[in-house]
Symmetry: D2
Subunit: 384 residues, 4 copies
């Protein structure tokens, strides 16, 4: 099967190259760039250069010969069996339409197809109207843990709105708490109250993309951590609407992204109020009752995700860290109760370029085509 990547010169595009070149079902790659057609991908990414004897590397062979020169998006659509769009928001609708018109699926890594038919919310946060509103009604939000069946049942061709990096980390951290509290599970240990869910996340610098800027300038971001777009990041409506769907009631979200001096990874810490804290004047460490409740919730999370190939609910002794999911499609999460026992704290870790972008897109492709869902995504995480 031939996979096409529009936006191959960007970071998400380069990560798709890396993952798809090792995918057992992909026999060739077609790469395109809107702004740089005609260039060789290895002149942009010399890490993709072939060795003297390239034929010995089957991964390189997939894109190292015919595929190595960037083509135009139009030609790419004509030559591919599935298309990945790794483009800025507001620029991919036309390629989605062209793909569908040709009868092939389009997996979009931008925000364009993450809002079903809710153009108003999209436009109020992204400032761009939709060109083909009817396409959006045919799209599926590609969070497999939530929508696996919808993706399977959508039928080909389909448009996938691949989730954002922060939404993936935050939503997976909240999903069991919100779903299980939905009235159906009377034995659930998790009973969220109606307070807003607070989510703080730290992202690596690759999240800001390939274009150099002051914020990503090494001397001004290394050895430092900062917050940005506090309470106003565009991923807020994406997360809120998914949470609201899961819970079956309006969920209010407060979200603060931070930038840390790391290449890859997102660590999200999510606070879900379960009940009012006790009024006691003195502050004591976690009680035995709270510890037992914490254990029960951890087990409930583990049970909830037991069949998921890429979610790891960590044992009590391990707290989530981004280096344990490096270059893998895993979402790790550790489960904690605060010292008063009234707030559930879930810490989740993903690789923003894999589960937060290219890996999840490959996972969606696997589901669409009925491949093993882990195909091309079985690499063990590299701790360092």
């Amino acid at each position: 099967m031939i996979a096409g990547i529009i936006g191959a010169a960007g970071y998400a595009g380069s990560e798709l190259i890396r993952l798809l070149s090792g995918h057992p079902e992909i026999t060739g790659l077609v790469l395109a760039s809107v702004s740089r057609p005609g260039e060789n991908i290895a002149s942009i990414y010399p890490n993709f250069l072939g060795p003297g004897k390239m034929k010995n590397n089957p991964a390189l062979a997939k894109f190292g010969n015919a595929g190595s020169t960037l083509t135009t998006p139009e030609e790419l659509v004509a030559r591919s069996d599935v298309v990945f769009g790794a483009l800025p928001a507001g620029t991919g609708e036309g390629y989605a339409k062209a793909s569908l018109d040709r009868g092939i699926s389009y997996i979009d890594l931008s925000a364009d197809f993450r809002f079903d038919d809710d153009e108003e919310t999209y436009r109020s946060w992204y400032g761009i109207p939709w060109q083909y509103p009817e396409l959006h009604r045919r799209s599926v939000y590609g969070l497999p843990e939530l929508n696996r069946n919808r993706i399977k049942e959508a039928g080909s061709p389909v448009i996938i709105g691949n989730p954002g990096c922060y939404p993936t980390a935050v939503t997976l951290a909240c999903y069991p708490a919100l779903a299980e509290a939905g009235g159906n599970n009377s034995k659930s240990s998790i009973k969220p109250v109606s307070a807003p869910i607070i989510a703080a996340a730290v992202s690596g610098v690759t999240g800001a993309g390939r274009e150099p800027g002051r914020v990503q300038h090494f001397p001004e971001c290394s050895d430092s951590v900062s917050a940005y777009k506090v309470g106003s990041h565009r991923h807020i409506p994406e997360i809120s609407r998914t949470m609201t769907k899961i819970a079956g009631r309006t969920i209010s979200l407060v979200f603060t992204p931070h930038l840390g001096p790391l290449n890859r990874g997102i660590l999200a810490t999510v606070y879900i109020s379960l009940e009012q804290p006790p009024k006691a004047g003195s502050v004591q460490p976690q009680t035995k009752e709270a510890a037992e409740k914490e254990t029960a919730i951890r087990e409930q999370y583990a049970l909830f995700y037991k069949d998921e190939p890429f979610v790891r609910v960590l044992p009590k002794t391990v707290t989530a860290a981004t280096n344990r999911v490096r270059q893998s499609n895993y979402c790790d999460m550790s489960i904690h109760l605060d010292h008063t026992g009234s707030v559930l704290i879930v810490v989740s870790a993903i690789d923003n370029m894999v589960k937060g972008a290219a890996g999840q897109a490959v996972q969606n492709m696997n589901i669409i085509f009925g491949f093993d869902e882990t195909a091309g995504l079985t690499a063990v995480p590299a701790l360092f």
Copy 2:
């Protein structure tokens, strides 16, 4: 004036050396180590080695000759005019007593004197009883922005419980909101509701001290971010009790520390609920009303801290980052409202080794002795 540093071989001790050697009122330093008396400080910290012509460096001259060999704590107390204790929790009470007995002040950088007379809370979190309970009644919690007058009025000799790094960053971020809401200021824009305050913070690795361990092993913490002691860190009771004092009512705190791949710095993000969020189904960006409210709160914060030499309430265009306070005693804070306008988000940044430890200790010394409060602490932050 001669300053003594017990625990000079640790990181907080070495930072005290760095700051006090440039202090205009300090004419000499005496260094002591409980475990390594007799060693030369420059064999532990070769960055403190003197050049060929040491007499030209007045900073080095303060400790480079007689002071360069580590002495015992007992001898240090006998030779000093003020004593800094940079020791593990539970080990400094004896030196505090010896200092007071000699009539000199003791500034303690551990947690031992941060709880006034509340031995129960200290013991339940630190697991150590107090040896000299009466000393604690004579101690003052050394957060100058809160207790400047208490420190001035305590009279010499005094024991200062120098605040923890996280408590400094979190408490200063909440102080105006909690103080101004205390009923006295009916025009305040800030009206916290009774929900718990959520605080997430990222710390640099120096916070874990000088002893090598797996968590601080470069290959396992660089290029990664993680959480630790989630909801159970020992700084929780310290922060809670100060907040409760400020607010005049019980404040519940949920606190999660994180470790980031940076040497110095703490970035704390604090969420203070002002009211219930609107129930509206769709999620919209910040409204004009919310933006005005945000501006009003920022101005209220700026006014609150207008006479503070080390607190900078940042303009709207700047968000707090640790590299802008590097090696300075500043606490920077940026003020934000979430998109619904119902949660106040304050992001504060300090250098954990300066305002979070040694610098604040020097600031306390300046207050005790009536020096200019900024003496020895005027260095402009080094962005990189």
Copy 3:
């Protein structure tokens, strides 16, 4: 085929797990530890934890079930078809003997089998005598670019002395220059004079292994670069003897290792004097003649390595960097002449944990067993 890894708890061992779990010819892994038998590998490396549905990850399945508990080296040898020894120098000879006695090959990642039968040199640098000198006569130095045929012809079982990380980077950088100058190639552009070869290299911190120590303590090695074991590193005799073999005359080497704040990677810069520099008083940029000579040498290098699957001689526009070989088995090298045209400068980059350790060991295994030499090593480098 079942592969056994003795020393699986160390960094080289963990990297072997990562690579071999994705190797198409390996059906199972047996892991052993001398000091920690009985522990589960995932309690040491939580990145290796299985997800809920582990059966979906064929990589984990190879060691996630029976193989997940560390066994003893003795039992490992009994259960494996090939054994990798990732142990400190001086501790693996017995396991090599046991493997050979059982008729299986032993690939040693320590320095023990890198010196053929030259026990004197080994002992003078490592301070340890050999227990089984006869084993060493049956060993082959496993630098495939140099000894591929010797490895193939050795017959099974064989002992491989897998090269050190610095020796791999430095030797590959010098190999064409020394080999081509050996009298056989009268048209060579490269004519080294008898001056010592100078090699400077920077290594990532994983090179120092998993045990925490002051040198690898984040606050004392991050954001800093240092030299160590200047002119006295144990890799000197290993490199010298290989160079001398290649050149057919005694080659003198001066080598300085440095430590840089990166996890993985070695960048080696090697200086080979081609002739005496001109005596001209004024210093001018590279002349046209020198530029042409540089191009000729680059082409000669490219030709020399044209059939190598893992050596990339970079085009003129690209200079070697460690991030372009990250997590791959490549050795990149860029070719330069100094401004006077008299010194050849080769900059080579490897991933110290892959081509400098585990990857090269897998490459050697592939050669021994007649697998495709790139099997299990085809992953495209991850730039970040």
Copy 4:
């Protein structure tokens, strides 16, 4: 005294602000920018923002009020008592002339005044002719360890060509070896032969300045080390000509700069051949004779620099590292002989922004005006 900084918005300019604001003889700063007059320095560098009560910070007071708005270079010259030019090569001659015409000294941090009257060499490497050749004859190369007396005797006003960062680290490492071998010291242990001096250096990313670019983009330079401008860097002629002056004979230099993932610091490793290496076939560790020779050379270096306030010849147990000179004006150097005893290896470390730029400029100012040479430069290095 009022100091003016042209190019205050660049990194070297910002470092001059940091150092001069703490200088006891400087009472005010005037800041100028060629491209951004009218902007406030704190909008470019928010780390320079004043706190609420700025008057308490005497350092900020120097530039925080009148001086905080960037003026034009012309106005700056009119208002200053000494001018620092922190500008790109080829743009500062006019300001040097204007300063001299006004009777005030000009300290140039670019390469423009580092070549005495040798315009040909400057032009062949920098590609720019001189506008005022006569100015260059009045300039002094500002390496105080070499030219202290020339600077003192030049008389005011003077133009100082402040040395480059690499030239400072490399030249100081070679100075004793080349000077002592000059025939005058028959008892010297150091007898360089006529082979080229090889210098390899790793620099932090601040060396590339404030403008974002791909090379300094965090995801492409963090966790990686690379070489650049191999054998062709513009600092080569600057270093060569100084070495040649010191030695009294033509010294050939081969120089390779590298980029490492650190903010500040240069580590230079310099190889000086003392004699032909022995021809012995086997490679042995350093002999007792070589160790004694190494000690003698170290002592000779220490003696050579004994009166220097900023050069530290390290004891045998300490090897140079950039974090031990962080934010200080020190040049550390460790002295080694290779294992054969025939090549002297000197490793030197500086902070590229201090001794390699702004600090050395301040040191030159101190010499010109007869201040204590360490004034404003006494801060103890911050290890982290």
